[in-house]
Symmetry: C2
Subunit: 286 residues, 2 copies
């Protein structure tokens, strides 16, 4: 039943969704829009989209499904604008990394019988660098795609069918879907996604100061150092919005890690260190 | 000129050296000894060693080169014992991850004209799990192998030739060698190797408490989480000695990271966060 999809934002994620939809056998049309024309051209040349829209709102009106694949505050802006121009024949979904604000706005602006439907989504996939050129049809294969849908929302049968069709496309792209409450989502990703990112940023920034002037010494760290700092390449432009919309949960996770590091620092020569290694070993085995 | 090598400790590193020597074309004999007989048997069955020694000191006496591939305190114990039974026809070298204590003992017990030579070494290669069965002929390919030799040591021409021959074998195993002062070595590895390890341990132990009871949620973190916690599987038995012999440098690195994380935590909504991301980006680009 989905014949036309609009992808608003053809960066790494939007382009990868276009490519993954094609790889999964989606035969409808895909129109793309991007803030910078160059990113849309790259997505077009890669076959992730069939055409470039001049006006994102018009492209959304002409599609059944609208995927917002832009940073979180840009997603919130689009939600306000789209709510005014779309109707019950449309489904909007997104890929934002925090879901509290977006899900609240989805309840305020969408998901009533006379409104467009909005399904808040979050694929747990990405790369440390963005951009259409890194788009990858296999990015979502084996990944988890989280949804924070609200069972209390009243949708028309048509809207419910669109939601079901989009979930089937997500599964066809190779992802396992998990449904979570938005507050639980934001707390969980603070631990398993945002904390690792800010740790990699802190470690990379610190090492830049300590050994950044001796690039030959970076090789000394080997694979372990490369892996622990890979996410250090992640762009501020994306993480600014995440930090601003999940501040309390990220603060709690960072503080807990600071305390853990201090505990290890104070116990480098005591048997407490064994307990930390054994607990860490259990996490990797579990 | 090296016809017989004794590898004392056929864990991951000792077994990998045996395999890498063979892959590099070393045609002499390799005798192995391991604290647990099973580890020696595995190394033998993999072709990393030709025979198993019942007595490590006798095996050392019958070889030109003795490689100590055991934890640091066991290395220091072997150094005391070997100094009493070896002579100027022998070279002892090691793979220990901290070099201050070992290099000091090497000067006290070896490296005089009438003594065996000792070349302190540290290959920057490993895996998060140990054991002979994970031994890998390519473990040292593309890695850095550090030495903390002391130019003031007086060695016979024969000992100097053995040192040169071992360095050539290390290069043949695919490693790039770098010479460092031992204090500089220990400070450097505190930043690029020990800090990443203790961070991975702290992060893994913390996440074990937070989400360890919901293993399905670990998948949510994806590749980033897997990489940031891979070293969490590292064994306490190895890291205890590293923590105990490089305590001050590791403490300084941990404290600096704690302060960095606190700075990020206090600036999740300020432009300071941009500076941290840009510095981290530079480290990955540099």
């Amino acid at each position: 039943m989905i014949e036309r999809i609009a992808i608003l934002g053809t960066g790494l994620l939007g382009t990868s969704v276009g490519l993954a939809l094609r790889a999964a056998g989606f035969r409808g049309s895909i129109v793309g829009w991007n803030r910078s024309a160059e990113g849309a051209q790259v997505a077009l040349s890669m076959g992730a989209i069939d055409s470039i829209a001049a006006d994102p709102l018009q492209a959304a009106r002409e599609s059944q499904v609208v995927l917002l694949a832009v940073p979180i505050y840009a997603t919130l802006d689009f939600m306000e604008k789209l709510a005014g121009v779309l109707g019950p024949e449309h489904l909007v979904t997104d890929v934002g990394s925090t879901k509290g604000r977006i899900t609240a706005d989805a309840g305020r602006l969408f998901n009533r019988p006379d409104c467009a439907a909005f399904l808040p989504g979050h694929p747990m996939a990405g790369k440390e660098r963005g951009g259409a050129a890194l788009g990858d049809a296999n990015l979502f294969r084996g990944a988890v795609w989280l949804f924070t849908d609200n069972p209390a929302w009243e949708r028309s049968a048509h809207a419910a069918a669109l939601v079901k069709a989009w979930r089937e496309l997500v599964a066809a792209m190779g992802s396992k879907t998990i449904d979570l409450d938005p507050a639980r989502h934001d707390e969980l990703v603070a631990w398993v996604s945002h904390l690792p990112q800010f740790v990699a940023t802190a470690l990379s920034a610190l090492l830049q100061e300590q050994v950044g002037d001796a690039p030959e010494l970076k090789d000394v760290g080997g694979r372990g150092l490369r892996e622990m700092t890979r996410l250090g390449a992640s762009p501020y432009s994306m993480w600014r919005d995440i930090a601003a919309t999940n501040t309390e949960a990220v603060q709690a996770a960072l503080l807990a890690l600071e305390q853990r590091l201090a505990h290890i620092r104070e116990n480098l020569r005591t048997p407490e260190l064994r307990d930390e290694f054994e607990k860490a070993n259990r996490f990797r085995r579990g």
